[in-house]
């Protein structure tokens, strides 16, 4: 029997959002088909214009008040790359030069020229340079100095500090490990005890918190899971608890909330949605059978019951994974038989097998397209909130994940009805561990493993 007391703050806030979202959906469903098609269109030109303007305003006027500027570069550049658009070569050059000015002579990138190096801004700067691609961008990173910066940020607990004397949390671990992996400077010294720290952050709910004891949170869960995969210790997590927690973060609106009983927010389309991309990847690299499509719930009528070509795949992948003969799945903490972690990020599955996403991809796409899009360009948290570059980046990243959620192989072309709205809504695939566009990752990987 439901409680008869008046609604609590949580219930009231939730109800307000539901009303807004459902009224939007109702309006949509009552529209004629031609209007519906328009509403489901990704407003590419407007988004690109909004984004490019944001990058330009950054360009010449180097105002040192902002400590987040590499982030703004990344959010904008990544969003543009997702839409398979390009930045004007002059603007590109200016950006590379600007990021170089954010680089500390002793390694790492700060929030702006003259600022202390910081792991988060380092992550943003490196991801920006990888997204830009090309020799000039990729070679501009001083990897030796960056490695020593990371070593200094390493704490005895296994975690990393964001900056000299800064806070330690799961986000710092992810930014460090992700960058080190991408630049091919990840080693046992950096990896040591990181797994222990992250493990201590998995909560009773199943998700992962920022620090031990804090609440399970989408952002930190993504960071924690990605890090554990990158250091090859993901089996230490209670994955079934984690999955059970994250599937319930998707709400009636179709979008994801960051924490239990909090409000939906477009950016969690990536932080929470991306977790499924990681898990999907995990299931295939571990050689587990991919989930065969059921008959009733078949979201892909063109394909009959398809199982992954898992036997052939398994063999190929296990061969890639085991650089070291003595490696076994259980042997995670023994550094001597550690799998070459440089290869972890690189393994993509072979073949065009199909899987069933564990989350509701179409519902999330509907939320992103109908609720998060600002028709004048940019994307936002939820209706009623303003657009910003951060939400633009993560809503689009989430959309990309959704569109490819039925594919085992990120590279394969999605089937038409995997994409909500016109097929032109299709975005570039990302590498879910780093959240950079896949072919930019591939270029960077080649560059940093050969040099």
């Amino acid at each position: 029997m439901e409680s008869l007391t008046s609604p609590t703050v949580t219930q009231r806030d939730q109800l307000l959002v539901e009303q807004q979202v459902f009224s939007l959906f109702k309006t949509f469903y009552n529209m004629p088909p031609s209007s519906q098609s328009f509403m489901l269109e990704l407003q590419r030109e407007n988004h690109v214009e909004y984004l490019t303007n944001g990058l330009k305003q950054l360009g010449p006027s180097f105002c040192v008040l902002d400590a987040n500027r590499p982030w703004i570069c990344y959010w904008i550049l990544h969003s543009i790359a997702l839409m398979d658009e390009f930045v004007d070569p002059e603007l590109e050059d200016n950006t590379i030069d600007f990021l170089s000015r954010c680089e500390d002579p002793n390694g790492g990138y700060g929030g702006g020229p003259g600022q202390m190096p910081h792991l988060a801004t380092t992550y943003a700067a490196v991801n920006s340079l990888v997204t830009l691609g090309g020799d000039k961008a990729l070679s501009s990173v001083n990897r030796e100095k960056l490695y020593s910066f990371m070593q200094q940020m390493k704490d005895a607990s296994g975690g990393f500090r964001m900056h000299d004397g800064g806070e330690i949390d799961v986000r710092a671990c992810y930014t460090a490990i992700s960058v080190a992996s991408l630049l091919n400077i990840l080693d046992d010294k950096l990896v040591q005890n990181v797994g222990n720290y992250i493990l201590s952050c998995q909560t009773y709910e199943g998700g992962i918190s920022g620090e031990p004891g804090s609440e399970a949170h989408g952002g930190y869960t993504f960071c924690g899971l990605a890090t554990m995969i990158l250091i090859n210790e993901v089996d230490r997590l209670d994955l079934s608890s984690l999955i059970d927690w994250v599937v319930f973060r998707q709400g009636v609106e179709g979008g994801f909330q960051g924490r239990t009983n909090k409000l939906v927010d477009g950016c969690y389309s990536f932080w929470q949605g991306g977790i499924f991309a990681l898990i999907k990847r995990l299931n295939s690299t571990k050689g587990e059978r991919s989930i065969p499509l059921g008959d009733g719930e078949d979201s892909d009528p063109e394909s009959p019951r398809t199982t992954a070509s898992s036997d052939a795949t398994e063999e190929g992948l296990n061969k890639d994974l085991s650089q070291d003969d003595s490696h076994s799945q259980k042997d995670h903490h023994d550094t001597s038989s550690r799998v070459n972690v440089a290869d972890i990020g690189h393994n993509s599955s072979k073949g065009h097998a199909k899987v069933n996403p564990l989350f509701n991809s179409l519902a999330l796409q509907q939320y992103i397209l109908l609720c998060s899009q600002d028709l004048n360009g940019g994307l936002r948290d939820k209706p009623g909130k303003s657009r910003d570059h951060y939400h633009t980046c993560y809503c689009l990243s989430g959309l990309s994940v959704c569109q490819r959620s039925w594919l085992e192989d990120e590279d394969a072309p999605p089937l038409p009805h995997a994409v909500l709205g016109p097929y032109s809504n299709l975005l570039e695939p990302i590498h879910p561990l780093y959240n950079v566009v896949l072919d930019r990752y591939q270029e960077a990987h080649e560059f940093y493993t050969s040099s």
């Binding site: 409680s3 040192v64 008040l65 929030g111 964001m162 004397g165 004891g213 609440e215 239990t260 519902a363």
Partner: protein, 261 residues
Amino acid sequence: MDYFRAIYKADERSPRALRLTRRAIHLNPGNYTVWHFRRLVLEALNTDLDEELDFIQRIANSNSKNYQLWHHRRWVIERLGSNARAKELHLIKSILSLDVKNYHAWSHRQWVLQALGGWEDELDYCQQLLEQDIFNNSAWNQRYFVVTRSPFLGGLIAVRASEVRYSVEAIVANPNNECPWRYLRGLYKDDIESLVNDREISSVCLKPSQEFRDAVVALWTSDTHPLDADLATAICDILEHVDSLRASYWIWRKNKLPIAA
């Protein structure tokens, strides 16, 4: 900011430098470099840190979600020690009264409790918050933190029975509230056997009695597909339909069920 950069480069740790960092922080509270340098200056000048807390508080009024601020607070409190404890716990409470799920505030509160103590009233505080809003997951999380780590409660096993009772009451009052369900599972983390055998819990959800089975069967509305004989499978089938947003997940769960004997 140019002045700041000059002083920072020169590494001048003077009262002038301190004043400059204050101004720079007002202009941009997100500038972690300035906060870091301020700490160096505070140390060098051996300044009164109680005043520093007031300063942070004034910045916090419009920036309660700023990482740097909270980190700086931690640094100050670390140096002030347990004398600062009561005032700090009180301050965090007042910030939470404005924004009861503020992530930084809760993390900071946990840090203060672990570093300086003050556990005695914490369970009551959680209780209070949950009475105001039983859907507040931050409060449930804090409750879990307290019952598992407070040196005064004897550890999880000691409080488990009463916590189970509390969770079950919460479930019965609002079965659609996810918090107490997860909390309940959390109480039996790594000990599924005990969870399944706990009579209080079965009374609420688990006992596969005939009555329960009848209720499950009643939810099944398909005429064409008979309900699976195995209860767990049947439940997955039902959930696939009544929780259709997660249909994929329930299919996956069903496929992972151990083969019925």
